[in-house]
């Protein structure tokens, strides 16, 4: 018997959207040549299709393109594209952060000087959705035209969130969907959650100590659940 539900679109349902990331652009191991130019040994051989939780496919492509201009892949190493920043941002927006689960959101909303912090009622989800409307077709533009478009919105709240979330997606633990293959950590020499530096802390004065990064899951052997996966 056909269900009534199958014929109507419920407000909380939507067509499934995917972000397709091509081979050689997600994660991997960084290799530095003698002149400190970084290149990526790809960990991926096939395109990856990642189901989106909040963004539409077009929105995700714009976020990915914009994050790549904020944190580009260039001769100083891989960037937002390889780290999977768009996937990270999509998951954050779908989770408690995106819906302002922990922010005080009682009215009235009054304007106040910057020292009082963000006073608006819009959630990160709403700020992204509105902000992305202003970047229609962005992912089809040339890099120069993209930079020009971003410069126009540089002082907006949307841009400051996008910039902050891009940094988060570059350097978070990989359980959150960003920092794929720990490329962000390799770029800056952060080893992740290293349990002990007791022997090293006074040993490497003035010289770089760069242990191989381990993710939280690798370091603890425990499958940790990120907060965006909680209800």
């Amino acid at each position: 018997m056909p269900s009534i539900r199958s014929s109507v679109t419920l407000p909380h349902m939507r067509r499934r959207h995917f972000l397709t990331l091509s081979a050689a652009t997600l994660g991997g191991v960084l290799v530095y040549s003698l002149d400190r130019k970084a290149s990526l040994l790809s960990a991926q051989h096939k395109p990856v299709r990642i189901p989106l939780r909040f963004l539409t496919e077009t929105e995700a492509l714009i976020v990915a393109a914009a994050a790549s201009r904020i944190f580009p892949s260039d001769d100083s190493g891989p960037g937002a594209r390889e780290a999977g920043v768009a996937v990270f941002i999509d998951r954050q927006l779908a989770g408690s952060y995106g819906r302002d689960r922990f922010r005080y959101t009682q009215p009235p909303f009054e304007d106040a000087p910057d020292e009082f912090g963000y006073q608006g009622s819009a959630t990160p989800r709403q700020i992204y959705r509105e902000g992305l409307k202003g970047l229609r077709g962005f992912h089809h533009l040339s890099p120069t035209a993209q930079d020009e478009a971003l410069r126009k919105i540089e002082s907006s709240l949307f841009f400051s969130l996008l910039r902050q979330n891009t940094i988060e997606g570059m350097f978070c633990d990989p359980i959150h969907g960003g920092n794929a293959g720990m490329v962000g950590w390799q770029l800056v020499g952060f080893p992740g959650p290293r349990m002990s530096n007791l022997e090293e802390i006074e040993k490497y004065y003035g010289q770089a100590f760069r242990p191989k990064p381990l993710s939280l899951r690798q370091a603890t052997g425990v499958k940790v659940r990120p907060s965006e996966d909680e209800s």
């Binding site: 922010r103 912090g117 770089a208 603890t220």
Partner: protein, 586 residues
């Protein structure tokens, strides 16, 4: 409202202060004791997998849920306050252990003259040395009286450090400007991160007296007088905003909870949101218990013979205001005491220094480093500089994670995104460090707390309203500190230095410290204070208020050892005197 069976003592708040009181009374008496904590329960084992910067340090998983309750702020009484809708200048913790779980465990003592600030300053420099509109007070107790309790705190925590003054004998290598201590530290100083070593050497070369930062994140295995053993720090760098993965950091959940859990007479109820303190109907001379909303959402009354508030500065003050206990302070008339003397430790990054060598900043601990107190001492006349009092400089290797610090750049770099920015940010990522300054905050008549007339919490009670701004004394002090820090950074070999631009208005978005104090201050007279130096309410002798809310003004030093010393002293007075003859202790 359901009424529960009466207990001897109810303690509101399960952080450092509340759990230490529960442990002392619970272990030394047979009193029945209930601790009411509105946050979740917690075990040290929870921290074995918390080393995730995003969820803990950026999304602030261990902090209070502001969607349910926050505070409002205005800079002066002429303006309307707005709510602080997200965390910023301070980070109050939630759950068992409170902020004592996610702290950095920096444990300096207050200077002796802090406790007699009004009389000592007036004596030395005349009453005109204090700024106009100040509300500076004596505490009604001296450092000498408190010293034995400070020593007990150091033994409880196992504090690591190097003494600089044992019974008046100055000891090089320690803080020679500190107050006397009866004994040295229980454990030796921590290891020294590279940046702190550079600071130590530069400070010495400039003629200063740097010393290892006192740390309750301990340097080696230690067993405290309660028989609680823990191992030494491994310098993983996940301290502030995290619980300690190896248990080296002193936390209420590891030092106090295991003892409490063994006692049949003490229980900790979580999810219990206290809303009111109830009084005897007439003549309203005693508290008879507290009402709270339990984890199931039910309103319950917990009768008790003794009531302790230990729910941090804001909530201690707010609960008295909501319960109508005491007269709210009125700045215009000077009447009332409740809510006065709001202060916040003056903490700034005086110099951000950029080096050409890597610093390995991921290694460290919340209080591993060196401090310098040459400008934080009671024998220095600064009257010609236009401000009074001072503070200490610090170079600590907290242990840094990348989201929080990526993109801090010399002011010569103009880009804030794109290739040039990225390249510079990667280069400087591990070559940047900050010399911090922490100064005293005097109390002023115009900095206070009361109930907000507009904004409510999730249960419909008014939020607490802060009226607060910096004054010239703080601005000049910070301005004085900046060139000193810049000179230190230069002597450390910094290539470029960003000096702190100066203190403007009180900024609720820049993390300052979680050392906000006042509201229910102690003193030797009910004319200007809410509690006596035994932390006992002047009008209700069976009500005790624990924590920084009782401090008349903010010292330069971080407050936890002082909070705990007063809890020990009050617990002794209750066990030795009050239980035999209930009534005023002072």
């Amino acid at each position: 409202m359901k009424t529960l069976p009466a207990v001897d003592a109810v303690i509101v708040g399960g952080g450092w202060a509340g759990l230490l009181m529960a442990k002392e009374l619970g272990a030394r008496t047979s009193l029945s004791i209930v601790v009411l904590e509105r946050g979740p329960s917690r075990q040290p084992s929870d921290y074995s997998t918390d080393m995730d910067e995003l969820d803990y340090a950026i999304r602030l998983r261990m902090m209070q849920d502001l969607s349910r309750e926050t505070v409002t702020l205005r800079h002066d009484a002429a303006r309307r306050a707005v709510p602080l809708r997200q965390h910023g200048a301070f980070l109050p913790g939630a759950g068992v252990g409170g902020s004592g779980e996610h702290w950095n465990a920096q444990v300096p003592r207050f200077l002796p003259d802090c406790f007699e600030l009004l009389s000592k300053t007036t004596q030395k420099y005349g009453a005109s040395a204090l700024p106009e509109g100040h509300a500076v007070r004596d505490w009604g107790i001296t450092y000498d009286e408190l010293e034995p309790y400070y020593t007990r705190v150091d033994k409880l925590l196992g504090t690591s450090g190097q003494a600089g003054n044992i019974r008046g004998k100055r000891i090089g290598g320690g803080n020679i400007f500190e107050g006397w201590r009866s004994e040295g530290y229980p454990t030796p100083p921590t290891k020294v991160p590279y940046f702190a070593a550079l600071f130590r050497d530069a400070a010495k070369s400039l003629g200063y007296h740097p010393y290892p930062a006192p740390s309750a994140n301990i340097s080696q295995a230690y067993t405290n007088p309660d028989g609680i053993s823990r191992g030494g720090c491994t310098y993983c760098g996940f301290c502030a905003r995290f619980g300690c993965m190896v248990g080296a950091k002193a936390q209420p959940s590891s030092l106090l909870l295991p003892i409490i859990q063994k006692r049949q007479n003490v229980s900790v109820r979580t999810g219990a949101w206290v809303r009111r303190i109830l009084l005897d109907p007439a003549p309203k001379s005693a508290a008879r218990g507290v009402s709270y909303v339990d984890a199931a959402g039910q309103e319950v009354f917990q009768p008790a013979s003794l009531v302790f508030l230990a729910s941090w500065t804001f909530n201690n003050t707010r609960l008295l205001l909501l319960s109508g206990i005491g007269e709210p302070y009125h700045p215009a008339t000077g009447r009332g005491t409740l809510g006065s003397n709001l202060t916040h430790q003056v903490t700034v990054p005086s110099a951000t220094a950029f080096f050409d060598r890597p610093l390995n900043r991921f290694m460290g601990a919340g209080s591993a480093g060196f401090l310098l107190s040459d400008y934080d001492r009671d024998d220095l006349d600064r009257s010609s500089l236009g401000f009074i009092r001072g503070g200490y400089f610090g170079a600590r290797g907290y242990g840094f994670q990348p989201i929080g610090v990526f993109g801090v750049l010399p002011s010569s770099v103009k880009a804030t995104w794109g290739s040039d920015w990225k390249k510079a940010a990667i280069f400087y990522y591990d070559r940047t460090a900050t010399i911090g300054f922490a100064g005293e905050h005097l109390a002023y008549k115009t900095n206070l707390m009361d109930l907000d007339p507009v904004y409510k919490d999730a249960l419909g009670d008014p939020l607490l309203r802060l009226t607060m701004d910096w004054r010239d004394n703080e601005r000049k002090m910070v301005g004085f500190a900046t060139p000193i820090a810049v000179d230190l950074a230069r002597a450390m070999g910094a290539r470029q230095i960003n000096p702190f631009p100066g203190l403007g208005s009180y900024d609720a978005t820049r993390y300052n410290s979680t050392h906000v104090q006042g509201g229910t201050i102690m003193g030797d007279s009910p004319a200007y204070s809410v509690v006596s130096p035994y932390l006992q309410h002047w009008q209700l002798p069976n009500l005790f208020i624990l924590g920084g809310s009782t401090f008349p003004q903010n010292a330069s030093a971080n407050p936890t050892p002082t909070v705990l010393a007063f809890v020990y002293r009050t617990a002794d007075a209750i066990v030795d005197r009050y239980l035999k003859h209930p009534g005023p202790l002072a």
